[in-house]
Symmetry: C2
Subunit: 378 residues, 2 copies
C-alpha cells in the first residue's frame, strides 16, 4: 500500500475541490480534478467542465504549458483513474505519458469493472509510478451517481422531502405554502440543478400544476459561478400509470426534456398534442398495476447518474420501501402542522423498530430558519 505525505493530501484535497466545480455541468460524465506539481510547486491545474470538452488532466497540462512550465518529471494528482480509451477525446493516460509525468496519484479507481485498472496499467507499463487510494472516500463521494451507474447500471436515487417537526408536509386539506423558508427553497433549486432527472407522480401534476424546472434566479450563491446557459435542466419524469396526462399543464411550456412513464400508451389524439420535447416510456407494471419503479430507474440508468424524487408521500415512500432510495434529503421547518396533517412518507405498519428503514445521518445543517438533513440508506 502506498504511503502518502501531508503534501500529497493537500494536493489531492485541492484536486477534489476542483472536481466539485463540475458538479452542475459535467453530466453524464464524472467530476474530475487534476493538479500537476514539481518541487512542491503547482505548475498547472484543471477540472472537467462539460462533457465532450477537455478532461481534467488535459486542462491541467494545458494550463501548465500556458504558464511556461515543463511537465517533465512532475507528479499529477487526479481524483479519478485516468481514462484509457478513445472517446470524444484521446485517453488521458496517454496524455500523461506523452507529457513525461513521473508519478501519478489517483484517489479512486474507475467504478466500471470493465474499465477499472486499465488506465493505471497503461501508466505503469510506461514506467510511471502510480499510487492509488489517497482520499478515496472523499473522491468517491463527488461522483456517487456516476460510480453507482457504472457499477450497477442504476442511477443514484435521492428522495427529497420538506416537512414540519411533527413529520407533516401539509395540512389535511393540502395547504403547504410555505412550510420551509426561502433559503430552503433556494437550496432545493440547487439540488435539482445537480440532478440528471427528477421524478414526480401524475397526482402532483394534477394537484399543483408545477413547472419542475430549475429557476436560475433562485439559485442563490450558485449564480456567482454559473451562467444561465451553463445550467442543465433535469429530465422531468412523470409517473402516470393510467395515462391520465394531457397537454394543458404548465410543465410543457418549459422546453427541457420530459419523460412520461405509463403502463398503457396514450391515445394518439392526446399524444399528438404533446410538444416535441416530450417522450413516452411504457414501463412494466408492478403488483398494484402501477408503474414498476425498478423498471423506470433501470431505464433512466442508461443515461442518468442521479435521480431526484420530488413527489407525494405515496411515491416517495414506495421508493424507500422497495429499497430503491440511496439518500433522503429532508428540509425540516421548526413548525408544528398537527396530527391531522399529511405524513411525509407513506410507509408500512412496522411491528419492530428493526423493520423501519435503516439510515445513516451524513449531514445536518441550518438552511435559513430550517434544518437540512442528509441520510444514506443502507
Amino acid at each position: 500500500m502506498a504511503v502518502f505525505s501531508v503534501f500529497d493530501h493537500q494536493m489531492m484535497s485541492r484536486a477534489i475541490q476542483l472536481a466539485r466545480k463540475g458538479l452542475y455541468t459535467t453530466r453524464p460524465n464524472p467530476c474530475v480534478g487534476c493538479v500537476i506539481v514539481k518541487d512542491d510547486q503547482i505548475l498547472g491545474e484543471g477540472y472537467h467542465q462539460v462533457a465532450g470538452q477537455g478532461h481534467a488532466e488535459v486542462n491541467a497540462l494545458q494550463q501548465l504549458k500556458d504558464n511556461g512550465f515543463s511537465s517533465e518529471g512532475a507528479t499529477a494528482y487526479v481524483t479519478l483513474e485516468p481514462c484509457s480509451h478513445y472517446g470524444r477525446t484521446p485517453p488521458c493516460a496517454l496524455g500523461l505519458i506523452n507529457a513525461n509525468i513521473a508519478r501519478v496519484v489517483v484517489a479512486v479507481k474507475d467504478a466500471n469493472p470493465q474499465v477499472a485498472g486499465k488506465g493505471i496499467a497503461m501508466l505503469e507499463q510506461a514506467g510511471i509510478q502510480v499510487d492509488v487510494g489517497l482520499l478515496e472516500d472523499e473522491a468517491f463521494d463527488v461522483n456517487l451517481g456516476f460510480m453507482k451507474r457504472m457499477k450497477t447500471g442504476m442511477p443514484w436515487v435521492t428522495v427529497k422531502v420538506a416537512a414540519s417537526i411533527d413529520g407533516k408536509t401539509a395540512l389535511s386539506n393540502g395547504v403547504s405554502k410555505w412550510i420551509t423558508g426561502s433559503a430552503a427553497r433556494s437550496d432545493v433549486q440547487r439540488l435539482r440543478a445537480r440532478h440528471c432527472a427528477l421524478i414526480t407522480g401524475i397526482e402532483t401534476i394534477i394537484a399543483d400544476d408545477p413547472q419542475l424546472n430549475v429557476r436560475y434566479e433562485q439559485l442563490g450563491s450558485l449564480k456567482n459561478t454559473l451562467s444561465p446557459s451553463s445550467i442543465h435542466q433535469p429530465i422531468r419524469v412523470i409517473l402516470d400509470s393510467k395515462a391520465r396526462m394531457t397537454a394543458n399543464y404548465q410543465l410543457f411550456a418549459i422546453t427541457s426534456p420530459i419523460l412520461l412513464v405509463t403502463t398503457v400508451d396514450y391515445p394518439e389524439a392526446v399524444k399528438a398534442q404533446f410538444p416535441a420535447h416530450v417522450n413516452v416510456f411504457i414501463a412494466s407494471k408492478d403488483l398494484q398495476n402501477r408503474v414498476c419503479l425498478h423498471s423506470v430507474l433501470t431505464h433512466l440508468g442508461q443515461t442518468c447518474n442521479t435521480v431526484l424524487i420530488e413527489a407525494g408521500a405515496t411515491l416517495a415512500g414506495s421508493v424507500i420501501e422497495h429499497n430503491l432510495a440511496d439518500e433522503l434529503v429532508l428540509y425540516q421547518a421548526a413548525k408544528l402542522l398537527g396530527s391531522a396533517g399529511r405524513n411525509m412518507l407513506q410507509l408500512p405498519d412496522y411491528h419492530k423498530i428493526e423493520q423501519a428503514p435503516k439510515m445513516l445521518l451524513k449531514d445536518k445543517r441550518n438552511v435559513g430558519q430550517d434544518t437540512r438533513f442528509v441520510f444514506r440508506f443502507n
Copy 2:
C-alpha cells in the same frame, strides 16, 4: 435609563452564571447570583443555593468578609431585585444598606407586582445608587418559572416529547424502546431534576408502569456538581379522571410526593392502600369529563414554579391546544418510524397554517446522536 459599562456587563454575566448554579436546588425560590466589586476587583460572590438558607447577597457579603475585605463604598451586582421583607431570612436590601454598599446594579425587578420596586426603593431611600435593567432578558430566563408564577399564579409549563424525524413516538403497536439514544435520555433526567412537578396521564402508568423519578446515576455531568442528597424529586402528578389508579404500580415504591388528580374521589378501600406520600386532588371537569387542565395547573401554581408534561400524544397535545404550554422540548432521533406510527402530539385538524401553534425556536443542539429543540409558544 442607566448606562452600563463593559465591566458592568462582565460582572453581571458572572452573577447570572452564579445564579444558574442554583437551577436544581433553590426551588420554590428563584435562582439569584451576586458579585461585589470595588476598584475593578471582585471582593466576594455568592448565589442562592437552597430555600431557607442564605440569599445570594448574604453569601456574597459573607465571602467578602471571609476574604478580609471591607464592603464600604463597593458595588453589588444582583441578578434579581433584592428582597425587602422579613421571611426565613432578613431582607437583603437591608443587608446591603448595613454593609455600606454605594451602588447596586439589578438585572431584573421582582415579578410579583406587589413586591416589585420595594427592594429598590428601600436601597434608594438609604442613599444607594441603584441601576436597573442590565442583562435583563438573560436574568429573566434563569427564573422563567418563578417569574411567571409570581406574576400570574400559574407555573411555567414545558411539554417534553421524544420522536423520530417523521414525527412519531412509537410504532403503531406501541414499541418505542429506544427511539432516542442514551445521551438524550440522560438529558431528560436533568430536565426532570430542574422541574418542580411532572405530569403524566393514567394511560401512561397503565401502559408503561414507569417510576417517573430522577435517577441520580443517569444525571451525567450534573453528578460532578450535585450530590445525591441535594437532588429534588419533582412531585409526580398523575391525571386520572375516572379514578382508575390502584396501589400496585411501581411509582408508589419511590417515596417522593405523588399527586393523584381525579374528578371523582377514589373508593375508601383503594385510598387506604395508597402510601403516605400520596395526595389526592379532586379537580373540576372539562367538557369531555376529563380533568380540567387549567384547574390542575392553577392548583400546582400554589407551590410549583415549573411543570414538565411527560405524557402521551393526547394529553401533551391537549396542553398545547389549550394554550397552556410555554415551551416544547423535542428530542428528535435521526430515524424513520413510518407513517403508521403514533403521532407525537394529538392536535386539531387545521385548515390554515396560521391556526397551527405559533412557536419560536429558542435553541437547537446535538445531544448525542439526537437533536434537542427548545421552542417557546407565543
